[in-house]
C-alpha cells in the first residue's frame, strides 16, 4: 500500500482521479437505511476535508466456508473460486480486501491451506477477521492465528489506516459464554478505546467483524452481547461503517452516524431471521444458488459522504 502514501492529494488531483469513474454517473449510497443515489457533481461539490484524501475502492468477501460439502452447496471451493474470478475482473480494482470470517468450515489445516491458495492472487492485500468456524480447532483459534495472527493483538484484533480511513478488525467469536451471543470481551474493548483515543471525530471509520455488531435476531444468537460498549466508543465519529458476515444475507441498519451492513456468503445462503426453525445452510434450487451468493464492493469518496456499497451476486 506504499503506492497510496500520498495522503495530501490536491483538489485538482482529486478531480482528476474522480474522472476515472465519472462515467458511472451516480453512486448508490445508503442513508437512513434507504438506498438512494447521489450525483457525482454533488459528491465533488462538497469541500475537501483535511486529512481525507482521494477516493478508493475496497472489497468485502465473507463466509467462504472452504470444506463445507453438504447439499446446500457441495462445491464451496468452486463458488469461492467464482467469487475470486469476479473480483479479479472488476474494472475498478480494490485497494484492499476484507474477509469477514468463516474462511474455513472446520478450521482444519487442509481447509486453511486450500483457502489460502484460492484467495491468493487477488491482486490486493487481504485483511481477515475470524468466524466461529475458524476458531473451532482444539487450540481454539491456534490454526487461524498461526496464519493470520501476525501483527495482531489478543485473539486477532488489529487496526490500520488507508488513505485517511481507519479500519478496525474485531474478533467477536472467541471465548463465548453460555447463553450469550457473540462477544468482544473487556481486553478487546480496552484496546479499542486506546485505538480510537488519538483520532479526530472526522476520521472515517470502517469496523469489520464476523458476527453482526447489532442484534439482528437474538433467538439465533445473531448479535454481539457487548457491542453497545464498542458503539459507545464509536458514537463521536462522523462516519462509521460496520461490516459483518455470519448470517449469509444482505441486511442493513442505520443508527445515527453508524451504518451496519451484513454481506452475502460465497458458500450458501441462510434463512431470513425467524423464517425457519433454526439458522443453518439453506438448500435452494441449484440454479438459484449463484443469485444468493456474492461479494461487496465499497467506494470511499470523502469523509463527509457515506461509503457507497454495491453488492454483486455470483449470478
Amino acid at each position: 500500500m506504499t503506492d497510496h502514501a500520498d495522503e495530501s492529494l490536491s483538489r485538482r488531483g482529486l478531480l482528476t482521479h474522480c474522472a476515472g469513474w465519472a462515467g458511472a454517473g451516480a453512486l448508490y449510497t445508503l442513508t437512513g437505511g434507504i438506498a438512494s443515489s447521489i450525483s457525482l457533481d454533488a459528491a465533488l461539490a462538497a469541500p475537501p476535508r483535511r486529512g481525507a484524501s482521494k477516493p478508493f475502492t475496497f472489497l468485502q468477501i465473507s463466509d467462504t466456508h472452504i470444506g463445507f460439502d453438504k447439499a446446500a452447496n457441495p462445491d464451496t471451493r468452486g463458488t469461492a473460486i467464482a467469487a475470486v474470478e469476479k473480483i479479479k475482473a472488476l474494472p475498478d480494482k480494490p485497494d484492499i480486501i476484507l474477509h469477514t470470517g468463516d474462511i474455513t468450515h472446520l478450521s482444519t489445516e487442509e481447509q486453511f491451506d486450500d483457502a489460502r491458495q484460492i484467495l491468493s492472487g487477488l491482486g490486493a492485500p487481504v485483511f481477515y477477521v475470524p468466524g466461529e468456524h475458524d476458531f473451532l480447532d482444539e487450540g481454539q483459534g491456534r490454526a487461524y492465528l498461526a496464519r493470520y495472527g501476525a501483527g495482531t493483538l489478543g485473539t486477532g484484533w488489529h487496526s490500520f489506516d488507508h488513505l485517511g480511513v481507519h479500519f478496525i478488525a474485531l474478533n467477536n467469536v472467541a471465548n463465548l459464554k453460555a447463553g450469550g451471543m457473540a462477544h468482544l470481551g473487556e481486553e478487546q474493548l480496552a484496546w479499542l478505546k486506546r485505538d480510537l483515543a488519538g483520532l479526530s471525530a472526522s476520521t472515517p471509520i470502517v469496523v469489520f467483524a464476523h458476527i453482526p455488531l447489532w442484534t439482528v435476531y437474538e433467538a439465533w444468537g445473531w448479535g454481539t452481547d457487548d457491542s453497545g460498549a464498542a458503539l459507545a466508543l464509536l458514537r463521536r465519529f462522523g462516519s462509521v461503517t460496520v461490516l459483518n458476515g455470519h448470517i449469509h444475507q444482505i441486511l442493513q441498519k442505520v443508527e445515527g452516524n453508524v451504518s451496519f451492513h451484513s454481506a452475502r456468503s460465497t458458500a450458501y445462503p441462510q434463512p431470513a431471521p425467524g423464517a425457519a426453525p433454526s439458522p443453518g445452510p439453506l438448500k435452494v434450487p441449484s440454479e438459484q444458488l449463484p443469485m444468493m451468493l456474492g461479494i461487496r464492493t465499497a467506494r470511499f469518496v470523502r469523509g463527509n459522504e457515506p461509503i457507497a456499497l454495491i453488492d454483486q451476486s455470483l449470478a
Partner: protein, 120 residues
C-alpha cells in the same frame, strides 16, 4: 370396558417406569458391576434435545450432531468439552458425581442444555 383396560395398561406401564430408577438406586455403590446406563441427546435445529435431562450417577450421555452446522458440547465451567462435532459426530461423557451441569455450544452459545445427576 376397553377404556378401562387401556387405563390399566397405562398405569402398569407408568408403575414400571417409576420402578426403574428405584431399581437402579437400590443397586447403590455396587452399581459398578452392572452395565453402565447410556442416555442420548440429539443436537438438531440448533438445540439440544432434550434440553434438560436427569440421570443417575454413572450414566454416560451421548450427544449426536444431526445438524449440517458443526456444534460443540462444552460445560459452562469448562469441566468437560467436546471437539467440534461435524454432521453425525458424537461425543460422550460419563457423569460419576451428583450435580447440576450446565453446558452449551461454544460456537452458538445461545444453545444451552443441562444434565442433572442425582441418585434416585
Amino acid at each position: 370396558m376397553t377404556h378401562a383396560v387401556a387405563a390399566a395398561r397405562r398405569l402398569a406401564a407408568l408403575a414400571l417406569i417409576l420402578a426403574l430408577p428405584a431399581l437402579a438406586a437400590s443397586s447403590g455403590p455396587a452399581a459398578a458391576a452392572t452395565p453402565a446406563k447410556t442416555v442420548t441427546v440429539a443436537i438438531k435445529t440448533f438445540a439440544f434435545t432434550a434440553r434438560v435431562i436427569t440421570v443417575a450417577p454413572g450414566t454416560t450421555v451421548v450427544w449426536t450432531n444431526e445438524d449440517e452446522d458443526p456444534h460443540t458440547v462444552t460445560a459452562a465451567d469448562r469441566s468437560f468439552h467436546s471437539a467440534a462435532l461435524d454432521t453425525g459426530g458424537k461425543f460422550s461423557f460419563t457423569f460419576t458425581k451428583a450435580g447440576d451441569f450446565g453446558y452449551f455450544c461454544s460456537l452458538h452459545p445461545h444453545m444451552t442444555g443441562r444434565v442433572i445427576v442425582k441418585a434416585n
